[in-house]
């Protein structure tokens, strides 16, 4: 664990750059993490990010399939929004823990 300054705020991040405490998150932090991944955030992105944060608060475990069935975005759309890392990048930008593939 390390402390990092993102968008002027000091936050705790894991070794691979995921926020340790999702309550330290704000939209500016999201934008800065996203631009580091080459993604410019739009309203469509934020709909997905807010959905991911809500589900995580409820304690749900997330998968690409479950996000694709959410009604917010389908799997193809999720890939378009977060190329190369539909769940990993979106989780990182949403300030939630790294998704675990349960194995």
């Amino acid at each position: 664990m390390a402390v990092k300054t993102i968008a002027g705020v000091q936050v705790n991040v894991s070794d691979d750059g995921y926020l340790e405490d999702m309550d330290q998150w704000n939209e500016d932090i999201a934008k800065e993490i996203a631009s580091g991944l080459g993604i410019e955030l739009t309203d469509e992105h934020f709909k997905v990010l807010n959905y991911l944060r809500e589900k995580t608060k409820e304690g749900a475990s997330l998968s690409i399939r479950s996000v694709g069935k959410s009604g917010i975005v389908d799997v193809k759309g999720l890939y378009k929004l977060f190329p190369k890392g539909p769940l990993k990048f979106s989780s990182k930008i949403a300030g939630i823990p790294k998704p675990t593939s349960c194995i």
Partner: protein, 410 residues
């Protein structure tokens, strides 16, 4: 009489039935188990059928052989659980009451979840080896296969026995070498994961074996659909892989009964406390095996280790004591690597598979994350252990909690 009800008579349910039948007072407890099927499958054996190592007869026995003589057995599909009323409804309307309930209804393959999977090439050029029918159809196909692209694809997690697809490609390498046509067969391992396994140390070692055996690994491939006409699989990010034979792990989901009962996550796995194995919704319901949503491998070894914890906790709950046993997510998997060798991994929620010796530190006889002949014998012996010890709920000389003894941090 108080009633204990077990739903599902697979590996986990049968094991719990035997353990609890031997422990609970017969005058006090009536024990009933429900399952819709009468045949018990030795599922680890399915993997060997395509290569002609096992036949169907090696992997099936009647479920009745493994039930204690005094248990009530009902063969019926289950409609739903109504936890608020302590009732289980069977299909057809019969109602069973319970004081305590164990859910062990497992996971099922759902080929229908993937577009183009259950289409015109199903069981002709596209197969699963998670059913005895699929494994046997693939065996027939292999007999006259003269070469081409053999693709193993993992389209979704979680799935039963995470190492089975690895073993499949290793055994295929040995099988086609034996037939003298290995140079004509391109073996490709396509996975939605970022590597051959989820944990870094094991990924490195197993990835190394892939390379040695000249098996191509295509990772981060999230399967969108299968094109039966052109024999290609496509990912959502529009990559494609062509196949002559496609072997796939169909999407795994829990029983529809779980969804009808309102107790599942979006894959129908029962929401379960990962330490106590108690349902998150009802204190008198416990969950074991593949049916549960806890983050560990869906495998018989996990059900076995979890069984010891569930046994302690359900007895505590029956006596009104707090639940003290905690499951650590322990899994232990033999990995067949072909040519009479095997590897072994041992891990839990917090510790990834590490190299070392097992179960005795420094002695073994099994080597962790090593490719040895002894590990292969372990796998071969396991079938006997499964039928005669594991299902009967007897003790094995391995602790339920994972041990760091004999493991090396790397």
């Amino acid at each position: 009489m108080k009633k204990l009800l077990i739903l599902g008579a697979g590996t986990a349910g049968t094991m719990m039935l035997n353990k609890l039948y031997n422990e609970l007072e017969r005058e006090e407890w009536e024990i009933t188990i429900v399952d819709q099927f009468k045949t018990h499958y030795y599922q680890p054996g399915f993997l060997f059928i395509p290569f002609g190592i096992y036949s169907k007869q090696d992997v099936i026995k009647p479920k009745y052989d493994f039930f204690p003589p005094g248990a009530n057995v009902i063969f019926s599909p289950i409609d739903k659980i109504v936890g608020e009323e302590n009732k289980v409804y069977l299909e057809g309307g019969k109602v069973l009451n319970y004081d305590f309930l164990i859910i062990a209804t497992g996971t099922q393959t759902r080929p229908g979840e993937t577009e183009g999977l259950k289409d015109k090439l199903w069981y002709k050029d596209i197969f699963d080896f998670y059913t005895v029918e699929g494994a046997m159809a693939l065996h027939q196909r292999f007999k006259d296969f003269e070469g081409g692209d053999l693709v193993m694809c993992i389209p979704e997690v979680p799935y039963k026995c995470p190492v089975a697809p690895l073993e499949f490609v290793f055994l295929a390498d040995a099988y086609f070498t034996g037939k003298g046509i290995r140079d004509k067969v391109n073996i490709k391992f396509v996975t939605l994961m970022s590597g051959v396994f989820t944990k870094p140390v094991a990924t490195k070692v197993l990835g190394g074996i892939m390379e040695e055996k000249n098996i191509e690994v295509i990772s981060d491939f999230y399967l969108s659909h299968i094109d039966n006409e052109n024999k290609k699989i496509f990912s959502y990010d529009e990559r494609e892989v062509s196949f002559d034979i496609l072997t796939i792990v169909p999407v795994n989901m829990g029983s529809e009964m779980v969804a009808r009962s309102g107790m599942g996550d979006d894959m129908n796995f029962v929401k379960t406390d990962k330490y106590t194995l108690q349902s998150e919704q009802f204190e008198n319901i416990f969950v074991i095996g593949d049916a549960a949503n806890f983050p560990t491998s869906k495998a018989g070894s996990v059900a076995h280790f979890a069984g010891e914890i569930l046994f302690e906790n359900i007895l505590s709950a029956m006596e009104g004591r707090p639940l003290q046993a905690k499951f650590d997510g322990h899994a232990n998997c033999y990995i067949e690597t072909g040519f009479g060798k095997g590897a072994l991994i041992d891990f839990n929620y917090d510790t990834e598979p590490l190299p070392g010796t097992f179960p005795l530190p420094g002695i073994g006889p099994f080597g962790l994350l090593k490719n040895t002949k002894m590990n292969h014998y372990g796998k071969v012996m396991f079938r006997w252990i499964y039928w005669h010890i594991l299902l009967k709920g007897k003790e094995l000389p391995i602790e339920a909690d994972m041990s760091m003894a004999g493991k090396k941090r790397v």
